[in-house]
Symmetry: C2
Subunit: 381 residues, 2 copies
């Protein structure tokens, strides 16, 4: 199949491009390097200092003899995106081209505006380019489990039957985000649903939990093929940040009591999930929503796991319960369904001590370049 | 109170400004005349050819000795809006500054992009200007009953308790629009709710049904104080369009079978509702949602009423069931709650034969300037 990965320079974008290319697909990545610009503007460093996409693609070709086409362009500009879609005529588009940091989206007006504008307009432009040029193309959109928030009822996969005063109807599961970023994803889903039902598009929305890890099989332990890896309070995700903290001797920063429960998954499983979605397209006119995570943990669970394994490796790992910089519930009901991916054949990589050990060992190689100043929360909301 | 009316040049904006001014408030209107530009670009004419805002305001001053401040500016530009908010320091902002035509939003890419961008960014900018400069200010936002669509369960006022698998939680009522315009309003509500709960704003969202009529008490039968009145397929609303069709001898254009049921209200009642919302502000941190309509009618009900009264006046009124240009249900359950406004003291002006007669008689004065070419549906979706 012909597959475009929008946001192909990102944490998940680049590994996805390699994964799909190794599956035998014709892959094109598009990115405007906005994340690199934001990272540099905020004086943050990626742990691995990844080369630009054309260098990555060239290197991948040398190793695999597989060509990943690279386009540096802005999906939030309709004309740029339209030309790529018209030219490449994809069977599938994977849409990662969104500003994905909750903390960044809560920093101030400019950051909020960028998040809302970028995320809505990349999605809107993609919808129109697909509808007008390749209406059969399967859009695979990365959503987030954070769209659901932490409701007091079970979280279903995207849709819910509501019984109310003796009558019943089926609705998109009512969602409310805990940050502007999460809210922008709620809006994305609504926008996709309207156009999907109106024009018969085919869309899979993967409601993904926080991802951990950085090594996928396609990297073949080659540091030049690594993905980007952030451990700061803005672009770092929680478990990756804990790993870096454990390695660098900084107490693990648990926000509040750490009772926040979320569904997590290994980056290797993200690859599997994308592959399964590609192989099982949504029917026309359907917004298929899949909850994408493998295990539930509280933040404190994760910290305890990292501390246990880290200490067994001779690191001195302690835990620091910080005043929560976010407005979120620290003690809540959480029961989310995730059966679709199992039905499609997902074979999960669970968070074992070995997995944690592998992550800690790998990051130990980079101990000297870790910038400890960037670990504490700087954005309050 | 100090009140800003955003979109103060519009069908509801200008009458609202006069109404609040006559109530004794200090009123400022802001508008960028975008509707006038779109109307002129689409070669459409308002029936009454309203003067610009400064002329209207001057004329209103001569009649009432009350000053309505006029600012020509664009709310979708943050700096323009911020300066107005910082300078005027409103106690209340009435937010009408949205592209409000469903048909326009479905015309093509440019129209859809303008609708989404304008409606989201005016709301986003307003939220930020209020949060940063007048956090106690009461935002009164015009929503639409169209956000709910036509669900098979009762429509509550904005919020719903969902019982699911033995557990319960309260959610924003799940909404899905039937056009991009309606979808943009769904997104607005989600955006407002996120920022309201996060920063303790006070917001009233008035979910308004289609409005009919054009004469409010503040116009004092003075044609120079009239609001704008559209009867074309893009900016005209259904009952107003039927009135013009009846007067000009064009069969009433019922879309499909005409079984579409909606909650309607007289423009005089919109004034009352706004006044009631102004006098009863939402508490801080609350998104108060009020369903704003007085009576339920199907489209065919309305056509029959207009035909009956029109024919009794000697007009020759017939009904034409056109192929529905829209994707919408023509036979559906519809039971929507609207008790809050009654509790606040709304005294409804119902759609009596006298009201229809008054509208028909008034429009008969303009019979010669009606452009019949603009009545048939031109946008399909």
């Amino acid at each position: 199949m012909r597959i475009i990965v929008l946001g192909g320079d990102g944490y998940l974008g680049w590994p996805t491009a390699m994964y799909l290319s190794n599956m035998g697909h014709d892959v094109c990545v598009m990115d405007n390097y906005i994340k690199r610009q934001l990272v540099s503007k905020n004086n943050i460093k990626d742990l691995f200092l990844n080369p630009l996409l054309d260098v990555r693609s060239e290197y991948f070709y040398k190793k695999s003899q597989k060509k990943i086409e690279v386009i540096i362009g802005d999906c939030s500009n309709y004309n740029e995106l339209k030309l790529v879609i018209k030219d490449f005529l994809p069977d599938v588009v994977i849409h990662y081209a969104e500003q994905s940091s909750a903390a960044f989206s809560m920093k101030g007006f400019e950051e909020a505006e960028l998040t809302l504008n970028n995320n809505l307009m990349t999605t809107f432009n993609l919808i129109w380019a697909i509808k007008d040029y390749v209406p059969n193309c399967h859009i695979i959109k990365l959503g987030t489990m954070g769209e659901y928030g932490t409701p007091n009822i079970d979280i279903e996969e995207g849709w819910i039957d509501i019984n109310h005063k003796g009558r019943t109807d089926k609705f998109l599961y009512p969602r409310q985000g805990g940050s502007l970023y999460h809210t922008s994803k709620v809006l994305d889903t609504d926008l996709l649903w309207f156009y999907t039902k109106n024009y018969g598009l085919r869309v899979t929305d993967l409601m993904q939990g926080p991802v951990y890890g950085f090594l996928t099989d396609d990297m073949q332990n080659d540091t030049k093929l690594l993905t980007n890896f952030f451990y700061d309070d803005i672009f770092g995700t929680v478990l990756n940040r804990f790993i870096v903290q454990a390695v660098s001797g900084v107490p693990l920063t648990v926000y509040g009591k750490g009772g926040q429960i979320r569904g997590y998954l290994n980056i290797k499983d993200v690859m599997q999930c994308i592959g399964l979605a590609v192989n099982n397209p949504a029917p026309k006119g359907e917004l298929r929503i899949i909850n994408q995570f493998t295990e539930l943990f509280s933040v404190l669970d994760l910290a305890n796991k990292v501390a246990l394994v880290g200490n067994s490796m001779g690191l001195k790992v302690s835990i620091d319960n910080l005043k929560n910089p976010r407005k979120e519930q620290e003690n809540h009901y959480y029961n989310a369904k995730n059966t679709t991916l199992t039905q499609l054949g997902l074979n999960p990589n669970l968070l074992t001590d070995e997995v944690l050990q592998e992550m800690l060992s790998f990051v130990l190689n980079y101990k000297n370049v870790i910038d400890k100043e960037k670990i504490m929360p700087s954005v309050l909301w």
